[in-house]
C-alpha cells in the first residue's frame, strides 16, 4: 500500500507540474482577455454539530480552477480553517495540508503530523474529524468515491487512537 501511495504521489507531482507549466506557458489571464476567466464555485463544507452527533453543512464560494486537485486542495484548506458559522471545527487548526492526489477514484489527503499531535478528542471528536473530511470531499467531487488519510506521507492506523483509518473511507460508512 505504501508503494501504491508513493506511485500515486509521483503521479500527482507529474500532474501538478504539467498543470503548472501549462499555466505558465499560456500566461496569466488578465482582464479583457478571451482566454481563461476566473470563476468561482459554491462548495459545501461539513463541520461538527454542537453535540458532535452529526455534521453541519456550510456553503462557501471558492475560486475555481480547471484542475481538480487544485480545487480539492482549496476545499480542504477551507475545511481546516474552520467554520464561519456556529458549527464546531472538525480538524486541528494547526494541521497543514501537505498534498492531495486522486488515484483510482480515491482521494489521498496528506496532512502534516499536527493532525495527530494536536488532536485531543475522544471518539466523538475523532468520528467528526473523519466524517467531515470524507463527506466534504465526496460531496464536492463526484469523481471521488473514497478518501484515504495520510500523515506526513505515510498511512496511519488511527488519528486519535480509536477509529481505524488505514483503509478507504467511504461516505456511506461515515455519516
Amino acid at each position: 500500500m505504501r508503494k501504491a501511495a508513493t506511485v500515486a504521489i509521483a503521479i500527482m507531482v507529474v500532474v501538478v507540474l504539467g498543470w503548472y507549466i501549462r499555466e505558465r506557458v499560456s500566461g496569466p489571464s488578465g482582464p479583457g482577455e478571451t482566454g481563461e476567466v476566473e470563476t468561482t464555485r459554491e462548495v459545501t463544507l461539513y463541520f461538527g454539530s454542537h453535540d458532535g452527533g452529526s455534521l453541519v453543512a456550510e456553503h462557501r464560494q471558492i475560486v475555481s480552477s480547471r484542475n481538480i486537485l487544485e480545487n480539492l486542495r482549496r476545499v480542504l484548506e477551507e475545511l481546516v480553517s474552520g467554520p464561519e458559522g456556529e458549527a464546531m471545527a472538525s480538524l486541528p487548526a494547526s494541521a497543514r495540508l501537505r498534498g492531495v492526489f486522486i488515484h483510482d477514484r480515491t482521494a489521498f489527503i496528506d496532512f502534516s503530523q499536527e493532525i495527530v499531535k494536536d488532536f485531543a478528542g475522544g471518539t466523538t471528536a475523532e468520528y467528526v474529524l473523519i466524517s467531515s473530511l470524507v463527506q466534504t470531499v465526496c460531496a464536492n467531487f463526484p469523481e471521488v468515491d473514497a478518501v484515504r488519510i495520510l500523515v506526513e506521507g505515510e498511512e496511519v492506523n488511527t488519528i486519535g487512537g480509536h477509529l481505524l483509518v488505514s483503509r478507504p473511507l467511504k461516505p456511506q460508512e461515515w455519516r
Partner: protein, 494 residues
C-alpha cells in the same frame, strides 16, 4: 588488545597454578559433587563453563571478538576483551583484574563470581573456604503455581510466573507438548493429573537452564495453543476439543483460513471469560477533562471495578492492562483472542470540542463495507490455513479483510450486547442517552468475538468529568454492564 590479554594471562599463570578439587553443595537437592578448579596464589578461579553449569546459566562465547555471554532469565552478563570489561544488562560493572582468558576458556576469580556475577544474574554462590565447599543456591522460585480450569470443551492451564519469563515451545510429539521456561525455577514438585481429561497431566522438571514443563494431551488429538498471559502473569496452555469445530457451516467460509474459527464457535461455548480493555494508558492519555481528570485513569478505575463485579457473579474477567502503561492495540486484541475469551468490552470516556456535549453511548463494530469480491480474493490468497493473530504492517490489510468477514458472525451478538448495556444504563444514568452506534474501532478490528466499546460520559464536559470521577456514578455503570452481561448470558443460554 589481543597482546595485552596474552600478557595478562601469562603473568597470572606464571606462578604455580594448581588444579584443586572442591565440593559443590546445591540448595535444590542435586547431589553433592566434586569439581576441579584452578588455584593461583591462594586465589581460586572457576572457568566460565563451570559457572554456567553450576548456576544454570546459558553461555555463549565468541572467541573471535573475545566475548562471553552468560544469561539467566532476563539478565545478561558479558565478559568482554578477555574478561577485563564486565557488563551487566548493558551497564559496565567494575570487577578489577579478576578474570583472564586461557585458550578457549575464560577464568573468573571465585570472589568476583560470588559478589558480582552470581547476584547480578539473580543467582547465589557462596565459597566456604574453611570447609572447601562451594554452596550453590538457585534463586527464589519464579514459577509459582499451575492453575487449571476446565469445561467440557476446553481446558485452560495457567502456569503462573513471577515476572515475564521467556519460553520456547517444542512441537508436540505423541500428544506431549514441551515448554522450556528459560531461567524458570519451579517452586514445588507439583503437577496436575486428570485421567481422561483434555489435559491428562502436567509435569515440571528442573533443568540447569530453566524448567521443562511437559503437558500430556488427552485422546482425540485436541487442539492447543501456548501463549503468554499478562494478568495474572504466566504462560497459558489452552486445549480444546476439536470435534467442536468440525461441523462445517456452508454459509461461512473463514474456518478454513482462520485459525481461531476451528477452535471456537461462539454459539456453543459458555460465557465464562470476559476481556475488559481499559482504553489508552501511559503517554496516551485519551481525552482530558477541564480540571485535569484523564480518560486513561478513568478507564482503568472503571475496568478494575467491572472485573471485580463480574468475578463476584462467577464470571472470570481479565484486563488488557492493569497499570498506567500503554499497551498497543494489536496486543489488546491478541490477548482477547488468545485466551479464548467470550466477550470483549473496551472502556472509554468520550471527548469533544464543545464542553456542553455530553451523554453515554455504546458502540459495536460496523461490518466494513469493502467489496465482497476483495474479501473473497484475500481469503483465497490466505489459503494455507493459519492466519497470524499478530498483525504486522504487511499483514494488516489482509488481517483486516479477514476480520471483516469473520466479524459478521459476531455482529448480531455484539449489537445485542450493546443494546442491552444501553438499556441498562438508560434506566440508571441521569445523563443523555446517545444510543447504540456502529464504527470501525482499531481495538476491535482484530477481535474474533462479540465486542463492544462503552463511552461512559464526556470527560470534556465539566459536569460529566465530575461524575466520571464519582464512585457512585462508576458503580452505576459497572452494575449496568454486569446486568447486561447476565441478561446476554441468559438469552443465549450459555
Amino acid at each position: 588488545m589481543k597482546t595485552g590479554i596474552r600478557i595478562l594471562a601469562v603473568m597470572l599463570l606464571a606462578g604455580p597454578c594448581l588444579a584443586q578439587s572442591v565440593q559443590v553443595s546445591y540448595s535444590d537437592g542435586r547431589p553433592v559433587e566434586s569439581i576441579a578448579v584452578l588455584q593461583h596464589d591462594d586465589v581460586v578461579y572457576l572457568s566460565v563453563s563451570q559457572i554456567a553449569r553450576l548456576l544454570g546459566l546459558e553461555k555463549t562465547a565468541d572467541l573471535a571478538t573475545d566475548e562471553v555471554t552468560l544469561r539467566s532469565g532476563s539478565h545478561t552478563f558479558k565478559l568482554l576483551i578477555g574478561g577485563t570489561v564486565w557488563m551487566l544488562d548493558g551497564e559496565t560493572v567494575a570487577p578489577g583484574d579478576v578474570a583472564f582468558r586461557e585458550g578457549d576458556e575464560f577464568f573468573v576469580e571465585l570472589g568476583a563470581v560470588e559478589k558480582t556475577l552470581a547476584p547480578g544474574l539473580g543467582t547465589m554462590l557462596r565459597w566456604d573456604e574453611a570447609g572447601g565447599t562451594l554452596f550453590v543456591g538457585l534463586p527464589a522460585p519464579s514459577i509459582i503455581d499451575i492453575d487449571v480450569r476446565s469445561s467440557r470443551e476446553r481446558v485452560t492451564a495457567t502456569i503462573k510466573t513471577i515476572g515475564m519469563l521467556n519460553y520456547e515451545l517444542l512441537p508436540a510429539v505423541d500428544g506431549k507438548i514441551e515448554i522450556l521456561v528459560k531461567g524458570g525455577v519451579f517452586s514445588k514438585r507439583l503437577g496436575f493429573d486428570s485421567e481422561g481429561g483434555l489435559i491428562e497431566s502436567i509435569q515440571a522438571k528442573q533443568e540447569t537452564h530453566g524448567t521443562r514443563i511437559i503437558v500430556s494431551l488427552g485422546d482425540g488429538d485436541p487442539g492447543y495453543r501456548v501463549f503468554p498471559r499478562f494478568d495474572p502473569r504466566g504462560i497459558v496452555v489452552l486445549v480444546w476439543k476439536r470435534t467442536l469445530t468440525d461441523i462445517p457451516d456452508p454459509e461461512f467460509r473463514p474456518p478454513r483460513t482462520l485459525a481461531w474459527a476451528d477452535r471456537f464457535s461462539p454459539a456453543r461455548v459458555p460465557i465464562d471469560l470476559i476481556v475488559i480493555d481499559p482504553g489508552h494508558g501511559g503517554d496516551n492519555l485519551g481525552s482530558v477533562g477541564p480540571s485535569g481528570y484523564m480518560e486513561k485513569d478513568f478507564n482503568l478505575e472503571i475496568s478494575r471495578k467491572l472485573r471485580d463485579a463480574l468475578e463476584r457473579k462467577g464470571i472470570d474477567a481479565m484486563l488488557t492492562r492493569n497499570d498506567d502503561v500503554f499497551v498497543d492495540l494489536v496486543t489488546r486484541t491478541e490477548v482477547a483472542n488468545s485466551v479464548g475469551a467470550d466477550l470483549f468490552i473496551s472502556m472509554h470516556a468520550n471527548g469533544y470540542g464543545d464542553p456542553q456535549a455530553g451523554g453515554f453511548e455504546i458502540y459495536f463494530l460496523s461490518p466494513a463495507m469493502d467489496d465482497h469480491a476483495r474479501t473473497v480474493a484475500a481469503m483465497e490468497n490466505a489459503g494455507s490455513g493459519i492466519v497470524p493473530v499478530s498483525v504486522d504492517d504487511a499483514g494488516e490489510e489482509i488481517a483486516f479483510i479477514l476480520w471483516d468477514t469473520a466479524q459478521n458472525e459476531f455482529v448480531v451478538e455484539s449489537s445485542h450486547l450493546a443494546q442491552l448495556i444501553d438499556e441498562e444504563l438508560a434506566g440508571d444514568l441521569k445523563i443523555k442517552n446517545r444510543g447504540v452506534k456502529q464504527a470501525t474501532f482499531v481495538v476491535l478490528a482484530g477481535v474474533y468475538l462479540p465486542a463492544v466499546l462503552v463511552e461512559s460520559a464526556f470527560i470534556t464536559n465539566p459536569r460529566e468529568e465530575e461524575l466520571l470521577a464519582d464512585d457512585a456514578f462508576q458503580d452505576t455503570i459497572v452494575n449496568g454492564i454486569v446486568e447486561a452481561v447476565l441478561r446476554f448470558k441468559q438469552h443465549y443460554g450459555r
